[in-house]
């Protein structure tokens, strides 16, 4: 049985993953024509490359259909409940970095911390008759974070894109979104809460922790880890 390695199927994340492995003597490449999602691996035996959407890699790892995978650490935490009992981090790859943060309008001069956000949520609910809305696509991460910090009287509204615009459009009062420089947030009149960093994400190599690995897969992983210097 080969060891299946899932890698994002397109874009910068794929290119940088290929570079990272190449620097360590393992060549990953797309097989056949450029538009095909078949892959090939040189430099080590027994490893099979599977090209997948980054968002599907957590699920495939947890299900044991692939044994290794590269994806954002934010996606693993968002898509898998109790992720650290199901996957293990093998290496942080040092690229694809982005922060999941909570941001509010710059005009909210009275709000800088979660403590402020919580107080404003209570007052907002009393004034408007509904809970303060936070637009995000990272429901699990945001909810766990706010529960841990004891923030109440908010609700999450789903936003799969253009999240910065939801406040202006009055479909949310605050947002929780990924940002790398904060530039887009500032351009949209938003600011980040000083203690509102939910997760610092980067591309990470994970292994599934499912039982049922064959001895061949185990020894291939050992060889791969040695080659990658892990």
């Amino acid at each position: 049985m080969t060891l299946k390695l899932g890698v994002p199927s397109k874009g910068r994340l794929m290119d940088k993953t290929f570079d990272w492995f190449a620097e360590r003597g393992v060549t990953l490449r797309k097989a056949g024509r450029a538009r095909e999602y078949a892959g090939a691996v040189d430099g080590i035996d027994g490893v099979e490359l599977v090209l997948l959407s980054a968002g599907e890699i957590p699920r495939e790892l947890a299900a044991g259909r692939i044994q290794l995978g590269v994806t954002g650490s934010d996606l693993v935490r968002e898509r898998l409940a109790n992720w650290d009992s199901r996957l293990r981090e093998l290496a942080q790859l040092g690229f694809g970095g982005a922060d999941l943060i909570i941001a509010v309008p710059q005009a909210w001069i009275d709000v800088d911390t979660l403590d402020d956000l919580d107080a404003v949520a209570a007052a907002f609910r009393a004034a408007h008759g509904h809970r303060l809305r936070i637009a995000t696509k990272y429901h699990r991460l945001v909810r766990d974070f706010l529960r841990h910090h004891g923030v109440a009287d908010y609700q999450l509204v789903d936003s799969q894109g253009a999240t910065e615009g939801t406040i202006r459009n009055e479909t949310a009062e605050a947002i929780a979104d990924i940002t790398s420089t904060g530039e887009t947030l500032r351009a949209n009149g938003l600011k980040i809460l000083s203690d509102g960093l939910i997760h610092s994400s980067q591309a990470t190599l994970f292994r599934g922790r499912r039982r049922g690995w064959t001895d061949a897969q185990r020894s291939t992983l050992k060889a791969l880890e040695a080659r990658l210097g892990l």
């Binding site: 809970r131 699990r140 923030v151």
Partner: protein, 351 residues
């Protein structure tokens, strides 16, 4: 086991009621907040909107009672409740509950009746009982020498110990003011040069909160003596009679808890009158502050000491405020409890 408990509660005079498995999610979300999404199953109906598989019976039964119930009223029910288990795969997602809910204005007697009814059905299984009283903490907060705004903030977070502690530390001057707030309040006119306002939260709402922050910065910190009294209250962990003595002592310095302590005393008398051994019954000052959000008075639970992996065999408590929220402002005193018959059966099989 469940049927046996149900029959016993029916024989004791409770009306058997049922609740729809699908409940409107909005009621539960407004009540519990977004956290409930992580614990309950949410599903969507194209016409009715978001629905939730009932996570408990109490809320639908309170709604039903507030619409057309007469007092006093006793209800019992048996059925499945549904809870997601994000952290422990071994815990069941669908469990049976048999419950008893009592709407009655004589609160000490009602507390004792529910506790005795529940504990009387638990048989000989070796269980550890736990009790507490959120009402005493509530009275202590209301009695603090500080602003109404601070009291309201603390009361809102009685059930979130971490945030409660942070607020208490800040109001007590134990934590410095966050630098951004200090900078804001240093400005002659914080509202001058306000960046463009967008969204539903208006400029006047921002101005109101800035004024509130100014008021708060000018208010005296809650005294160290009062903070120590709250700490002493939260740290209580003794038998009920010993706790009662300690609380009478605390009430000398904190007269605001006097009525709540008298309530505990009356409850213990009512429990003893029903044959409960209150001399050995434990009481914890912090019991019921987590995962029991709507309880605001007497709280209790029964745990299998030999099986910490199991959820509590039975839990319950008083939820007067919940009836007011669900009754559109008018509440009635109410107390209830549930038994998890499957857990009880597992214990008896293993004993």
């Amino acid at each position: 086991m469940g049927e046996r408990c149900l029959a016993a509660l029916r024989d004791a005079g409770a009306e058997q009621v049922d609740a729809d498995i699908l409940q409107p999610a909005s009621v539960l979300l407004d009540l519990y907040g977004e956290d409930i999404r992580g614990r309950a199953y949410v599903t969507a109906d194209p016409l009715r909107g978001e629905q939730m598989l009932r996570p408990d019976f109490t809320v639908p039964i309170v709604r039903r009672h507030m619409e057309n119930g007469a007092e006093p009223a006793r209800y019992t029910y048996l059925g499945a409740v549904f809870r997601q288990q994000e952290f422990d795969e071994s815990r069941a997602t669908e469990t049976l509950q048999v419950g008893y809910e009592l709407f009655d204005r004589d609160t000490p007697r009602a507390d004792a009746e529910v506790f005795a009814a529940i504990s009387g059905l638990l048989g000989d299984a070796p269980l550890r009982a736990a009790t507490g009283d959120i009402g005493i903490l509530r009275a202590a907060v209301l009695g603090l020498t500080t602003t109404e705004r601070r009291k309201a903030a603390l009361l809102r977070h009685l059930w979130r110990p971490r945030r409660f502690r942070q607020l208490l530390d800040r109001f007590g001057g134990r934590n410095p003011m966050p630098p951004a707030r200090a900078a804001l309040l240093d400005r002659a006119d914080p509202m001058a040069d306000l960046p463009p306002v967008m969204g539903l939260r208006s400029e006047s709402e921002i101005a109101i909160r800035v004024a509130a922050l100014k008021e708060d910065a000018a208010a005296d910190p809650i005294s160290g003596t009062e903070l120590d009294l709250i700490d002493a209250l939260l740290a209580l962990s003794e038998t009920c009679p010993n706790v009662l003595v300690a609380l009478h002592d605390l009430a000398v310095d904190m007269p605001a808890i006097g009525a709540a302590v008298d309530g505990l005393s009356a409850r213990l008398d009512a429990l003893a009158a029903r044959g409960v051994d209150v001399e050995t019954l434990p009481f914890e000052g912090s019991y019921g502050r987590t995962s029991m959000e709507y309880y605001d008075g007497f709280v209790f639970g029964f745990y299998a000491e030999s099986r910490p992996d199991l959820p509590p065999v039975a839990t319950g408590g008083r939820y007067d405020a919940l009836t007011a929220v669900l009754g559109g402002g008018t509440g009635v005193p109410a107390v209830g409890g549930v038994i998890r018959p499957e857990v009880l059966a597992e214990l008896e099989a293993g004993a």
